[in-house]
Amino acid sequence: MRVLVLAGRRLAASIPTLFLILIGVFLLLQLAPGDTVDALMAQMGGGDAATARQLREFYGLDLSVWAQLGNYLWRLVRLDLGFSAIYGKPVATVIAERLPATILLMTASLSLAFFFGLILGVVAARGVNKWPDTLISTLGLMFYAMPTFWFGLMAIVVFSIYLQWLPAGGFEDITVSYTGLRRTLDIATHLVLPTLTLGLFYMAIYLRIMRGSMLEVLNLDFVRTARSKGMDETRVVVRHVLRNALLPMVTLIGLQAGTMLGGSVVVESVFSLPGLGRLAYESVIQRDLNTLLGIVFVSALLVIAVNFIVDLLYARLDPRITTGS
């Protein structure tokens, strides 16, 4: 219960942050050359000034900036993200259509990064300064320094063009309509390369943190006690060290959630996945500022949600956090 209260308090504290972001980005977008109506008129192939005025009145764009901001925030409270003139649908619908691909990609990449980062970090720490450590650390450095989109392109060259094992892009095969298990399998094969592309960069970070934190915990007194009890090394690591060494890893998930969402913009473009990141890119190109603002809102919400989960996990791993202070 106390955990929930504590995490809930953190959640409440993030509401002002959310408003700060929205107000900031809203005001920033006011400086953008051209508004939704300009984009709309360009799409219709031009029009006269009277139509433009009418449209501006219709979208409430003739009001002062502050009135518009007030309107926007008031609509937001009622979970109305406005209307996308480019897609001809409410922004909420457009985003909801694109959200599943991004969430799938992020969950898969995060799991890959966390799981393999953990294992490789433990292996490297246990053989510190021997060849497995050197190999793993070098590999980690490489993945860290590699631009993700470049890795994605090279993976396409190797696995899709030469070996023809995996599809080069898209979310699913649109030439045949699979259902049920076949469809799940189809989506999974489409997501292998994007997941590797986004995940390996973060795996490199996780393995480095895990290695460092393992080395730190391995030198603590309680580990020496466990060893002197005659416990074998594997059990010492699994039962005593791991739980403590995991804390920085979990913190990192919360810190990295935002960057990962940003990284998905690039990865989704490389693999033409219909996700939130690609939508962000498209709305920048098409000057669909309403949608862009909506995406900012939803991504901030996602980051806050991830941090909420991290808080809960954290308290579970380290009981001192809730009982202490």
Binding site: L28, Y144, A145, L255, G258
Partner: protein
Amino acid sequence: MDLVKLYVRSPPAVIGLVLLILVLAMAASADILYPRDPLALAGRPLIWPFSNPRFLLGTDNSGRDIAAQIFHGARISLLIGGVSTMISVMIGITIGALAGYYGAFVDTALMRVTEAFQTLPNFLLVLVLVAVFGSTITTVTVAIGIVSWPASARLTRAEFLSLRNREFVQVGRTLGLKDTRLIFGEILPNALPPVIVYASVVMAIAILLESALAFLKLSDPNVASWGNLIGAGRDVLRVQWYVSAIPGIAILVTVLAVSLVGQGLNDALNPRLKSR
């Protein structure tokens, strides 16, 4: 001198330094080795690397010399990486110093802003900034600087919190030194080392951010950027994959060099942590 000795003891740090000098040499010699505009037509398009001695690394899909673009690209990457890192560290230090020194409500307010920047995915904010202010090399550099300061701010703030009540600061206060003098003249020099080391991380990320932006064709199209070349090569990826592959290796080497040098500096400055 001790620092140099400690630094040289670590092989990865030395490799990093050699690579960094190599990239710097490439940037410095670009005008001498390839005096022509790297974005000008040079020959037949899509010549494979090592097949024509005039174009050692071949040509891209519009017949531009890849080697020339790589050499001139080194300048752009280092320039954008360096300047945006400076902007970001400067913002970070100022905000972190004010928050850490004054505490109370100044701290709360500034940390809220920092939190806001950390909650918003930084690449998304770069996209917004580029959408609003256009994609010239200046706006791209400033945009990258603006999105990457929060970590340095937190680092500086933490240092200030631990330093602000030390004796030498109290002495300064008793002597009646002004706040600005205390912040910038007394505390900051002591708080700086970890921030400077962290700057290497900021620079690595800045270079990667710019290349990603250029790859998406949202960076300045009028400069020879490695990301631009990767983006151009994407259209001919099926057969002439080398057009994208070569600039990617250049980015990899540069980011690797910057990270290794940063890590080496960190280890040399904190010798106790060396064993990790």
